[in-house]
């Protein structure tokens, strides 16, 4: 068995451990300046001459320590500020040069070979309705030709709500403020069960949510689509939550509902649109026939995809608000 070394506390490993634990090693110890107990010092420095020498040494050490401690506030700060200014100027200049170089590489405006003048936009406008079956060209573009981009966009929303969840969620078992406390704090500046708000919400919320559902379902026929409709539904849910409180909304919307709806919607979207990956990315238009343009049940996959996006957006909006309010759903 190995013996514990005499200077065990001074080994590099112990110092690292102290550093990680955040135990501040005193400056005196680091300078090799022995900190002694009162009893010991009395015993050692009985002798008068000894004491004089001791005091001298102590003074020297004290001045050294004070210099060492003041360094970051006096000279250190100056050095830091100089380096900081230099580095910020350097980074600024580098970025400006890089951006200017990129601008110089761009094709000239108005040139015939400019990427804007390609056949893609013309094809979207001329053949869009025929190929996708959507009267709303925008919906045909973002949910058929470029559905894969929109898949990424809806994942961005999902990730955003996950980040808010990480930052603002209050753990029921953790220390600090609990969910109940947060809910109580939340109500300090506003009346509970406001009669006017409840009366207005009773008539407005159904209309708002119905309009949202209409916008989602008619995404391929009229202006709008998954994102707009989802945002409207989310706003309606937030109004309902404001008027009636968390008790009423928790009957139909909890964290479990949020995760189930998001996962099902995003999973369906991913499954229905990643098949182009497996077919070599050349089979981009739908297998389902477009149907008669203008009918509700037409345009192939656009209607179900709109519903998916709408559900994800509505859940995200609501969960943002719920997390901001009380740190949980």
């Amino acid at each position: 068995m190995s013996r514990i070394r005499e200077d065990y506390e001074r080994t590099p490993w112990r110092r690292l451990v102290h550093f990680i634990n955040g135990d501040e090693e005193s400056v005196a110890e680091r300078a090799g300046y022995e900190v002694e107990t009162e009893e010991e010092s009395v015993r050692i420095h009985d002798d008068f001459f000894h004491e004089v020498e001791w005091n001298k040494r102590k003074e020297e050490a004290d001045t050294l320590i004070s210099q060492y401690e003041e360094w970051p506030e006096t000279k250190g700060l100056k050095y830091f500020q100089k380096i900081y200014r230099l580095m910020s100027a350097l980074i600024c200049v580098t970025i400006i040069v890089l951006l200017l170089m990129t601008v110089a590489e761009l094709p000239t405006l108005g040139e015939a070979a400019h990427p804007i003048n390609n056949e893609v936009s013309g094809r979207y406008i001329e053949k869009g309705m025929e190929e996708t079956g959507a009267v709303n060209i925008v919906a045909g573009m973002i949910l058929d030709y470029r559905a894969f981009d929109t898949l990424g966009e809806s994942h961005v929303l999902f990730i955003a709500s996950c980040c808010v969840l990480i930052l603002l969620r209050i753990d029921s078992k953790g220390k600090g403020s609990t969910k109940e406390e947060a809910e109580e704090n939340d109500r300090i500046y506003e009346p509970k069960n406001d009669a006017i708000l409840q009366y207005v919400a009773r008539y407005l919320v159904p209309i708002i949510i119905l309009f949202g559902i209409y916008v989602v379902f008619n995404g391929h026929i009229s202006p709008g689509g998954g994102f707009s409709g989802g945002a409207i539904i989310g706003a309606g849910l937030i109004l309902y939550l404001n008027a009636y409180g968390f008790k009423k909304t928790e009957r139909f919307f909890t964290a479990k509902t949020f995760s189930t709806i998001s996962v099902i919607a995003l999973g369906f979207y991913a499954l229905s649109k990643t098949y182009s990956f497996f077919t070599g990315a050349n089979h981009l238009h739908s297998i389902i026939s477009p149907g008669t343009p203008g009918n509700l049940l037409s345009a192939g996959l656009i209607l179900p995809l709109n519903i998916c996006v709408g559900m994800v957006v509505a859940c995200t909006m609501y969960s943002f608000y719920a997390l901001f309010r009380k740190g949980g759903m």
Partner: protein, 88 residues
Amino acid sequence: MEFLKLLLFVVLITCAIYVCVAKNLLTSIVVFMAYSVVMSIIWVIIESPDLAITEAAVGAGVTSVLFFVTLKKIHAMDDRKEEKNEQD
């Protein structure tokens, strides 16, 4: 119609500048809300109603509400109340 457009643009720019200049955070949020409403009307005028719907729902609705909640969380609205109580 031209006059209305011009008026809307002037209001839009005024709102945008005022949001940055306003000293009170609550005021700047309310002005930001007004900015979103004006912007959504402009979207309708330049014939993109889908963007108008989104702007009205997200810009004027959800974003402002989230800003209000954040103000309450960081207790930026308390000071006003305390001042009022002191005046009373």
